[in-house]
Amino acid sequence: MHATVKMYLAIVLIGCSLLTGTAWAEKTVFMVLWRGETRVEEGFRAYFAETSHDLNIIVRSVDRDKSRLPAIIEEIKSVQPDLVYTWGTSVTLGIAGQDPSLSNLKHPSQLTDIPIVFTMVSQPVKSGVVRAFGPTGRNVSGVSHIVPVESQLNAMQAYMPIDRIAVIFTPTESNSVLATEQLVSHGNRQNIRVDTFPVPLDDEGNPRPDSLPSLVYLVSQGGPQFLYLGPDSFIAENVSDITDQANQYGLPSFAATEIMLTRSDALYGLVAKYNEVGRFTASKVEQILFEGKAASEVPVEVLPEFSYQIRADVARSLKIYPNLFLMDYAEIINR
């Protein structure tokens, strides 16, 4: 190619890039978190650290207090970031709201002109954030971290044959209630009996931590093969005590989220690793900010890969051992 033509093409390319600002311009992501930065955000940052993209991240946390959201929304409107990142169901419902086509809309969207990518929303469809998995058709996309219930039941069966499990859940947490309903429904299909135990509430309607020991005892007396630990904030806060007591009764626990496994002595679980959730969320942000896709086109998805984790020390103490073939792919953890 002639040198003059080459130079001309280079100038045109550089000019186009400067005009469109697709290659080198810094983008701003406004993160709104539920309880400060977690391993999800570690994964998110690590993903972008491996790319050449310049990302300016503004972090705000509501510290488990939804009343702080309006002020943060005002700040977002004044900063006008390129994208808003929301963590958890509560924050996402407070900013992205529910899909406007829903009949009983309780959470209207607070931002429509800025793309929103949510993460760590356990039930995006059931909670109404989106109508279905896949492209949303509105300025929202995101990632769910909960393994489908069917896969969780299969994972339980893979460890050892089961026909009866129990679940303790907080009746005031919609995510937990929905997850429990799904578990019962799928359990019926697979001939697995699911005994449900709601946590008793106090006069103000809050779950009572002091009720947990007697509740766990009650569960263990029922004779289930496993105690299911679903996506439940209250249970997550008290999971260590719950599994300790359950293990004393010889009742092993299955965890549906990584936090349940890391904070407790649950025997095993099929979980989405938070770090991987963060990376997966980052890939969606990248598509919107740097590949020119609209948030409405980027599908809402569950993390495609999960981690099967087994606590070897717990298995030894309970004398409940996994099937040999799980040694091929399970992550064995010893503490």
């Binding site: 298995a315 996994p322 099937n323 040999l324 073939f325 040694m327 010893n334």
Partner: protein
């Protein structure tokens, strides 16, 4: 003389071609065999190591062997991954657990083809050796065959009919993983390699024969015929033709010499009585050559034959579950389409030329075969099969017209025998190639291969088949006298002859009792039911090998039996015996199953071979028998053949339909038996009829005797008429 020299040359060339190929194949298999054992060793080692590592890991992490759960499924999985492993067991010396047995070894977990024999093998091994930790088992690298053969007592043990090699791999101090290698697998793999290679060699030989025949015809037969023709013309002063010169070689140079001499004589001598062309310019001879259609025809038949072993299974993808009747209907769409075009193809070939109709047929079949690849449902696959069938019928008819035009008038049956040999050669090579391809590269590539072969056939048709009809078929005949002459507007048939033939009760009896049942057995039994039966317990390659039994019987026995039939006459007996034997052959597998026990692939092969012998008895003789009973003379043989092929096609069409209907009620084996019994009965009925009423009308017989007394023989008449006016 010519035939002898051709046979000798072809045999010599074949030997020269095949010998290195056979040697190469032999060496290849030997190399393959030397790599086979290490490969199985590696595969087995890998599987055992993986299982061992997993067990070690589980024991290490969870604290002991008592933590092992779900070991049997892991053993089963490892055995399915490495089929050479016939047993896997976890053992420990006896006494390690309270429930230990009396024997030296206690087996904790075991997975084996035959667990009882495997258990006793392991226990016996444990008592033979000296090592207290794990006595008797071969330690270290197990799979060095020589070592094992040298150590049969400690290294191997009988496992039923097969030898079993055992190896112990330590898991922990007191635990061993014992693996058994099934030596019969090695033998099966070797046997399969030999069979596949043998089949490929045979297929290559058949293809080589076609190519050599073409080369021989182009370089020897045709120049020879041209020399005979031109010298015969020169002898009577006929200068209207010259020999076309192309290429090099001694024969071509000789032809050029003759042509040059003729040109010089033509210029210098204007002797009265010599024949010169009307426009004073001679034209090249249009010489006949049956052999020139062999390669395109072989390739064409090969493409359809390649599909034979996979067709029922492939068509099953487009039907509802267990819809055998639908498969039968799809197969019948091919036959129905070919039924139409085989009849009209001969008329079109005479009118528009063989080359055009052959090419059109190949083009239609190409489209149909390609359609198999894109078919997405029942409708589209029926369309694809129909297109292929339309093309098949056209090519089939065009080839027969070509042979009728090009074969020497006195040896026309020899010409048609070439047609049959090409068809059978393709039927032998095709299923073998298709079966091996299907097993190794998949059905899609078989279809692509078949489509490519049709494209080659179309190309070969264009390159090898002449646009013109030959001037004469016998080199000593004179063009323009009508003797052995094929005019450009040649037509073999007359419509009124068709009705005449169809009113002949003997003809109808022959068609109904022998021809149609024979074709029904072929398409419904051999091509449809036998592959279904084979595929129940084996692959497409086995199906192809079994079908080969039929082809080999036809290829080797039909020339012999046909010549015997010509010598001894009594065609009805030959045809009937063939039908009876064919029917009995197909009744054999199910009868065997009922009376003796499970029928095996060997029984199916024997049945197929017997069926082939039956067809070799009846099929070539059917044509001679037909011409004899039609009473219409040799000039009507084209019409007789046309009507015969049409009727025969009806049988071919009905075969899969009938088989499909039977399958709705019975198993494939039983359906095959009923087809066989029906053929047996019709053949017996036909034989009874012809024994009762005779093969020919009395008037015709008397007329034949009178004719033979009056005429002095066709050779003298030909010589007289060939003299120039």
């Amino acid at each position: 003389m010519m035939s002898d020299s051709r046979t000798a040359v072809i045999l010599t060339l074949m030997a020269l071609l095949v010998a290195p190929f056979v040697l190469f194949s032999y060496l290849s298999i030997k190399i393959f065999e030397s790599h086979l054992l290490p490969e199985i060793e590696t595969q087995t080692e890998t599987a055992i190591t993986a299982v061992n590592n997993r067990i070690k890991y589980a024991i290490g992490v969870f604290g002991g062997p008592e933590a092992l759960r779900g070991v049997d499924p892991v053993f089963e999985s490892a055995r399915s991954t490495a089929p050479g492993i016939s047993l896997l067991a976890m053992t420990r010396p006896a006494g390690q657990q309270t429930d230990s047995q009396e024997t030296g070894i206690q087996i904790d977990f075991i997975s084996a083809i035959n667990p009882e024999i495997a258990r006793s093998s392991i226990e016996n091994m444990g008592t033979l050796g000296q090592d207290s930790q794990f006595p008797g088992l071969v330690d270290g690298p197990l799979y060095k065959l020589q070592e094992l053969i040298d150590l049969p007592l400690t290294g191997s043990t009988p496992q039923g009919d097969d030898s079993l090699l055992l190896k112990a791999v330590p898991i922990s101090e007191n635990l061993n993983l014992v693996a058994g290698l099934d030596l019969s697998l090695l033998n099966r793999l070797k046997q399969s390699a030999w069979l596949d290679t043998g089949v490929i060699v045979l297929a290559i030989v058949l293809i080589a024969i076609e190519i050599l025949t073409l080369v021989f015809a182009k370089n020897f037969l045709r120049p020879n015929w041209q020399i005979s023709f031109i010298t015969a013309r020169l002898a009577v002063g006929d200068f209207r033709f010259f020999t076309p010169i192309s290429g090099g070689g001694q024969a071509k140079r000789f032809l050029k010499y003759i042509s040059d001499q003729m040109a010089r004589i033509r210029e210098s001598a204007m002797t009265e009585g010599l024949l010169f062309p009307a426009d004073s310019t001679p034209r090249p001879i249009r010489s006949p050559s049956v052999a020139h259609i062999r390669l395109p025809l072989f390739l064409f038949f090969l493409s359809e034959a390649i599909l034979r072993p996979i067709l029922p299974q492939f068509l099953g993808n487009f039907t509802a579950e267990s819809a055998d009747l639908q498969i039968g209907l799809i197969m019948s769409s091919f036959l129905a389409a070919s039924l139409i075009t085989v009849f009209f193809g001969s008329i079109f070939s005479e009118r528009f030329g063989v080359r055009k109709i052959f090419f059109l047929g190949a083009l239609l079949s190409f489209a149909g075969m390609a359609g198999h690849l894109f078919a997405a449902g029942l409708g589209s696959i029926i369309l694809a099969r129909t297109l292929t069938g339309l093309g098949y019928g056209l090519v089939y008819a065009a080839a027969q017209v070509y042979i009728a035009m090009h074969a020497d008038s006195k040896r026309r049956s020899l010409g048609f025998s070439q047609f049959l040999s090409v068809l059978i050669a393709a039927e032998i090579a095709g299923p073998a190639i298709g079966g091996i391809m299907a097993d190794r590269v998949g059905v899609d590539l078989v279809l692509i291969g078949a489509t490519a072969v049709i494209a080659l056939a179309a190309m070969a048709c264009f390159l090898l088949i002449s646009r013109f009809n030959p001037d004469v078929t016998d080199p000593v005949d004179t063009p323009g006298t009508g003797i052995s002459e094929i005019p450009d507007n040649w037509t073999s048939g007359q419509w009124n002859l068709i009705t005449l033939i169809l009113r002949n009760p003997r003809f109808i009896a022959m068609i109904a009792c022998f021809a149609i049942p024979a074709k029904m057995l072929l398409t419904g039994g051999l091509f449809f039911l036998i592959p279904l039966i084979v595929l129940k317990e084996a692959g497409a390659a086995e199906s192809a090998r079994i079908l080969m039994g039929y082809g080999l019987a036809i290829l080797f026995l039909s020339p012999l039996l046909a010549s015997l039939a010509d010598r001894w006459r009594g065609f009805s007996i030959w045809v009937a015996l063939g039908g009876i034997l064919s029917g009995m052959a197909f009744a054999l597998p199910y009868t065997w199953e009922i009376l003796i026990g499970d029928q095996t692939l060997l029984i199916l092969f024997i049945a197929t071979l017997l069926f082939g012998i039956g067809q070799a008895l009846s099929i070539p003789t059917q044509i001679s028998f037909l011409i004899q009973i039609s009473n219409q003379g040799a000039e009507a043989s084209g019409v007789v053949l046309g009507v015969f092929r049409l009727m025969e096609r009806i049988g071919a069409f009905l075969g899969p339909v009938l088989a499909g209907i039977l399958l709705l009620q019975t198993s494939p084996e039983e359906a095959l038996m009923w087809l066989g019994i029906s053929s047996f009965l019709t053949a017996t009925l036909g034989m009874s009829l012809f024994v009762a009423v005779g093969e020919e009308n009395e008037e015709v017989v008397l007329q034949g005797i009178l004719d033979s007394m009056i005429k002095s023989g066709p050779k003298i008449r030909t010589a007289t008429l060939s003299m120039p006016e």
